[in-house]
Symmetry: C2
Subunit: 322 residues, 2 copies
């Protein structure tokens, strides 16, 4: 009689249902989920983590569908994690996209998952990153992270990619403005999707202008024109992805980037737990309510209230360790 394989064993063997179950545990902040990540973590680091970011409607999902098809032709295992409140993955905005994805839903070599922002205080990006680790451990060769490019939570997620692809659409210059302003970091690859649009060449000139002002690094950011809906230009995008991968592996950038990203993840987890501890402490504290009354009455300012609350929190923490 052999023992039933554990969830971790099934996940490491690439069992799709085990992976789905594991991500649900992580997403619901179940201690078993964290335990599982701990167990499989030594088996991570193999997957190429590719982040795709860009405004809603730029065609990220369609592009990922097309990329997935090409990767599968090379027999690579693919996972998609979509962190996008308005994503077609979750809400079916675009029928075409859904049809294109349905094709992949039936493929055992493709795992697709979406995560919606439920307003968790910093919890979403942590859960997303753990999910990416689980996908990696399950033997996926390519993990595509899809996010809307605005906002800190999305930036936190995309920062964990080895390669960042910015997807733009001709005629919408907002992302270019963000690049120009230095709010958005320069990505590794820029895609102009829906390149049959008459404003495509104008947009490419604008992008070149922004890139020429950016500090020069070793890697020259390529601009790829695609029409993801018809699969056009996607093979060139795959080539650029492979070139970027080869470049960061050869230059040591990959390990540098992963070190920085893991550092940020550890810090984010620490902050998240400190905040939770604080909220638990305040939930039982009548003095907090009294201080809040003072703030609401405009007798005590929020920053001074925060100082007093932290003093109480520190004292409570010290007492609990005695």
């Amino acid at each position: 009689m052999t023992a039933q394989p554990t969830l971790a064993e099934r996940l490491l063997n690439g069992d799709k249902r085990a992976l789905a179950r594991a991500i649900t545990l992580v997403e619901s902040d179940d201690p078993a989920g964290w335990e599982l990540v701990r167990e499989v973590f030594p088996h991570t680091g193999h997957a190429a983590i590719i982040g795709l970011t860009g405004a809603p409607g730029a065609g990220k999902s369609t592009l990922i569908g097309a990329l997935t098809r090409l990767r599968r032709q090379k027999d690579r295992q693919v996972a998609v994690l979509s962190i996008d409140p308005s994503s077609p993955f979750t809400h079916g905005a675009l029928l075409g996209d859904r049809i294109r994805l349905t094709e992949h839903f039936l493929d055992p070599g493709v795992f697709i998952r979406s995560m919606a922002n439920r307003g968790a205080l910093g919890g979403l990006s942590e859960a997303a990153l753990q999910a990416a680790l689980l996908m990696d451990a399950a033997g996926k060769d390519d993990v595509f992270l899809e996010t809307v490019g605005v906002g800190q939570a999305e930036v936190d997620v995309i920062d964990h990619a080895d390669t960042v692809v910015l997807v733009l659409m001709p005629g919408s210059g907002d992302s270019i403005q963000a690049l120009k302003a230095g709010v958005m970091e320069i990505p590794d690859i820029i895609v102009v999707n829906k390149a049959d649009h008459p404003l495509t060449d104008t947009m490419i000139r604008e992008i070149r202008g922004v890139l020429s002002l950016a500090p020069q690094r070793g890697w020259r950011v390529p601009i790829v024109k695609t029409e993801a809906g018809r699969g056009e230009g996607v093979d060139q995008l795959v080539e650029r992805l492979d070139e970027h991968r080869a470049y960061i592996e050869a230059e040591g950038t990959l390990s540098e980037r992963r070190r920085r990203n893991l550092r940020n993840e550890v810090l984010a987890l620490c902050t998240f737990r400190l905040r939770r501890r604080l909220e638990e402490a305040l939930g039982e504290d009548a003095e907090f309510t009294r201080l809040l009354d003072e703030v609401v009455g405009r007798r005590l300012d929020p920053a001074s209230a925060a100082t007093r609350i932290l003093e109480r929190f520190d004292a409570g923490e010290a007492a609990s360790r005695r």
Copy 2:
């Protein structure tokens, strides 16, 4: 011989340069800025804080320009705080907007300020909220907060408004998707700007559909059609703003909302300071580097590393209080 008035006194007298200086102090996290907020806080609570949110390009700045003109005709003092990386206030994307605002720049009764997201860890929204308090204390009757509607930092800012206005543009359904998905909270007023667009009526039908599914509250969310560039519909928007103000004052919703918002602000300040303390502690800690090496080598998972780091942090905090 009379003493020079202090910065706080000048600010409370509505001195524009004092207000500008005060916000710079807060923005650069100068202790003098926090001290100033503490001093003037008892004089806050008068201003109507109106948040305008919506995708880049929806015309928020133009709308604020038009609203400002109408408010000034009633001799109300206006302040505008724009938290938008791609905002025309900062980066001059749209020449027309800049011209419209230049008119207001010269008006002593209007104060305009932009804040760019510099990647501060939670610092931006705190600085923005302190800036809004300073504007309030300086005697502004209306404070307009402008943000791009996606992302946690922006949500944190908009949560501090008494009235939230969502600005949509016909033909871009992303914000409606976000409403539908429950990611974006139902605003108090919805504006369909650029209402000369052929898809305006389709969009209004869609919005009505979403609103009909939302839980019914006492306030019926009005939909206002505007063409802000030509000033059309802006007087109706002002009427809806005044109605909403009267409603929340009569129903007690205003004080409820402000209590919730002040609570969140106090908590955010506490979390921000805990994170800063943690980073300072780690900066000097060789053991942190060693633990990080273990994580990078995939021998220790990020969550377990976070646990060990917090244990060290707690011990250090306890020791520093001895």
